[in-house]
Amino acid sequence: MTLRDLKPGQQGIVASVAAAGSMKRRIMDMGITPGVEIKVIKEAPLGDPVEVSVRGYELSLRKEEAKEIELRQ
């Protein structure tokens, strides 16, 4: 399961980040690392990107980026 599969209001624990290169780096720099709790707050009016809450702040990312974030089962 990935972050993309969560609906607004649902939360999960990050297992790993599948992206590579600078995107992976950016995702991890922003605090999305294994073991962290992440919650989907809402979708943008056109359905994409999504707003998530992680480490006490709000972040937006595209769904294709959310797909790279694996969650623990």
Binding site: Q11, V17, S22, M23, K24, R25, R26, I27, M28, D29, M30, G31, T33, P34, G35, V36, E37, K39, I41, K42, A44, P45, L46, G47, D48, P49, E51, S53, R55, G56, Y57, E58, L59, S60, L61, R62, E65
Partner: protein, 682 residues
């Protein structure tokens, strides 16, 4: 002896507010060499021996954006005496991630724990003494916007400047990685062990910039050690390091921060977002905000009241009138002293050049007062969030919308608004296509052709279609630039949505003032020089002063007119119009008025408003070639003021020329297509 303090921190952490509070008005804004990243420095207002430098806001010191490279190069290479790291107490974990990376450089550091008022309001508590103990650096609680704790902060910074900082954090990266880092550091063997350790960490993190700078003799050995570190870390030491930093932070925060509630807590921001980024309301709200911004800056009928100017237009009118009177008086005085005709002409054209710069200042000022309010309040991030889905199709991000919309008013402030874009690629593409939005000064050209050549009932449709043409070409242009000119650069949209905050009046004013000053200085020289040059060309030939028909410009017009033959208007007057249009696009109408049978000034005014026709131009133009001419002037190089703004924002002549070249080529191709296809159809 003076000391240098660098301010570092995440975007939106209150760094700029702190900088403004510390330096007051004694600051200097420029660009870092080679990149369009703000470089601000100033003097501490309470001690002139302390120089303060504001580093760009970053989340990390990895080498993936211009801001990050600038910030870390400054810290590592220029070595300030001390770094003040501003940490937003409301998202302390992510902020401390950057703190750890700054500490790794071995430069003395002080943490300014900002937004303490908001932390308290949430019912959270942060034990600063304990935090300081755990991290091994001084931690000073502050509220930058209300000036609380700043004296204590500066005292701590000055004290830390002379001290040897702590360089070891036991257990940070785990035993295996620590051993690997120590091994690589000993191979590097720099004179300063702190530098070796920092480089070693970066090498394990796969940092391209540091690995390229390696001594070739050591590169092989280092490579093996990095590979070994990777193996030990389960294949991905880079991820392990980021993870270790966050785990270390998590442990410290767990001991020093007491949160009133766990998990995601609904804040005032979330409540505001329920309305502002609501599925149904987001677009109407956004449209209303944009309308207000646009109307305040450019509207001639403000609040729908006929003839009431908006603040921007009102101020511009005052500046124009005052300058007109002043210039008139100066020219009169010069004439009174018995100066020759050309000397008077030169003086008056110089004054016009300055007037052209001054006339834009009120628009820039008003637009940036509003823009910086939106930016500082946090709404701009939501605009990007809402619009991203649409702009992604053109390879841009949602933020490009604002400069493009502003382009319908005036390209100059629009181009400057592109500064709010995060990615360098998006910024450049946006600047290249923003002038395609038909600005206010281009409308008189369409009005002239519409009134002269098109039937009454079609006029509105013709003018509207030119506006739409600009939008369509901009979209296609963005797609092509993305595909062919910027192929390698993938964009992402991982962006913080900061809490809404009411910006302080002071920071909004300082921000707008910086823009006005920057525009007047940089763009001003371009505008001034080109205006005087065109004046010279249109009033002189090799025999001295002459009328425009016999001028060097007419000569040039005659010799280049063949270039425009495929576009349908191989006429020297049309060519001269293109050139005088670069001073200001509405000049084309005045030039035509003069060259096609010497029309009076009042007549030119009426033609500009579309109330009168200029029948003489039908000698040269038919409907198709007129449309091709309108399209060409819409898309070709914008006025010198806009080119000056591009130059300032691109930060390089090379990119400025590329942008202008792209615009010229686009204009030519589109006008050619219109002429060829138009003649086939009509």
């Amino acid at each position: 002896m003076g000391i240098t303090i660098a301010l570092a921190g995440n975007p939106n952490c209150g760094k700029t507010t702190l900088f403004n509070e510390l330096t007051g008005s004694k600051q200097h804004v420029g660009n870092w060499p080679g990149v369009t990243v703000d470089k601000k420095d100033g003097i501490y207002k309470k001690n002139k021996d302390v120089k303060i430098l504001d580093l760009p806001g970053t989340y990390s010191l990895s080498p993936y954006s211009a801001e990050e490279i600038v910030a870390r190069d400054y810290i590592v290479k220029d070595r300030p005496d001390v770094v003040i790291d501003i940490v937003d107490g409301t998202s302390i974990e992510r902020n401390l991630y950057l703190s750890l990376q700054i500490m790794e450089t071995g430069i003395p550091m002080v943490i300014a724990l900002n937004m303490m008022d908001e932390v308290k309001a949430r019912g959270d508590e942060i034990d600063c003494r304990k935090l300081s103990e755990k991290l091994g650096v001084p931690v000073v609680p502050v509220v930058a916007r209300s000036n609380k704790g700043l004296e204590e902060l500066m005292a701590a910074a000055v004290e830390a400047a002379g001290k040897q900082p702590r360089t070891e954090w036991p257990g940070l990266f785990g035993e295996e990685l620590e051993n690997a880092i120590a091994g690589i550091a000993s191979v590097l063997g720099d004179s300063d062990p702190r530098e070796s350790r920092w480089k070693a960490i970066k090498l394990v993190e796969n940092d391209e910039v540091v690995s390229k700078s390696l001594d070739p003799a050591k590169a092989d050995c280092v490579k093996k050690l990095v590979e070994e570190a990777n193996r030990k870390a389960g294949g991905d030491a880079e991820a392990k390091i980021a993870d270790s930093r966050y785990q270390y932070i998590g442990k410290i925060v767990g001991e020093c921060v007491r949160k009133a509630r766990r998990g995601h807590v609904e804040t005032k921001s979330d409540k505001a977002d329920k309305f502002l980024t609501n599925r149904i309301l987001a677009f109407p709200v956004f449209a209303a905000v944009m309308y207000v911004m646009f109307a305040c800056t450019f509207s001639e009928n403000f609040l729908f009241i006929e003839g009431l100017p908006s603040p921007g237009i009102w101020l511009a009118g005052i500046v124009e009138n005052v300058w007109g009177m002043l210039a008139g008086a100066i020219v009169g005085a010069v004439e009174g002293m018995g100066a020759s005709e050309w000397a008077t002409g030169l003086v008056s054209s110089c004054l016009d050049g300055i007037g052209a710069v001054a006339g834009f200042l009120p628009l820039v000022l008003v637009l940036f007062l509003l823009l910086s309010f939106l930016e500082d309040s946090g709404y701009m991030a939501r605009v990007a969030f809402v619009m991203d889905r649409i702009f992604r199709h053109f390879g841009l991000s949602g933020r490009s919308f604002i400069p493009m919309l502003m382009g319908f008013g005036c390209s100059v402030p629009a181009l400057m608004a592109s500064r709010t874009l995060e990615s360098d690629k998006d910024r450049k593409i946006t600047m290249m296509i923003t002038p395609f939005m038909s600005c206010g000064a281009k409308l008189p050209i369409y009005a002239m052709f519409a009134a002269t050549l098109f039937a009454d009932g079609n006029r509105t449709a013709v003018v509207f279609s030119v506006y739409m043409l600009g939008v369509v070409v901009a979209v296609i242009g963005a797609l092509l630039l993305n595909k062919f000119a910027f192929r390698s650069e993938a964009s992402n949209f991982i962006m913080e949505l900061p809490q809404y905050r009411m910006p302080t009046l002071k920071s909004v004013l300082i921000h707008a003032w910086e823009k006005v000053k920057g525009f007047a200085a940089k763009a001003g020289t371009v505008i001034f020089a080109s205006t005087v040059l065109i004046w010279f060309l249109s009033n002189f030939n090799f025999g001295g002063m002459c009328s425009m028909e016999e001028s060097l410009l007419a000569l040039a017009g005659n010799s280049i007119k063949w270039i425009f033959a495929p576009l349908g208007w191989a006429d020297w007057r049309a060519s001269v119009g293109v050139v005088t249009g670069w001073i200001a696009k509405e000049n084309i109408v005045a030039t035509f008025g003069q060259l096609f049978g010497g029309v009076s000034d009042e007549m030119v005014e009426a033609v500009m408003a579309g109330e009168e026709a200029l029948p003489a131009i039908s000698e040269v133009f038919n409907k198709v070639s007129a449309y091709s001419y309108m399209a060409f002037n819409l898309l070709c190089m914008p006025c010198f003021a806009a080119v000056g703004a591009i130059r300032r924002e691109m930060g390089s002549w090379k990119w400025t020329l590329r942008a202008v070249g792209f615009q010229m080529a686009t204009a030519y191709v589109v006008a050619l297509l219109i002429n060829v296809l138009g003649n086939m159809v009509f």
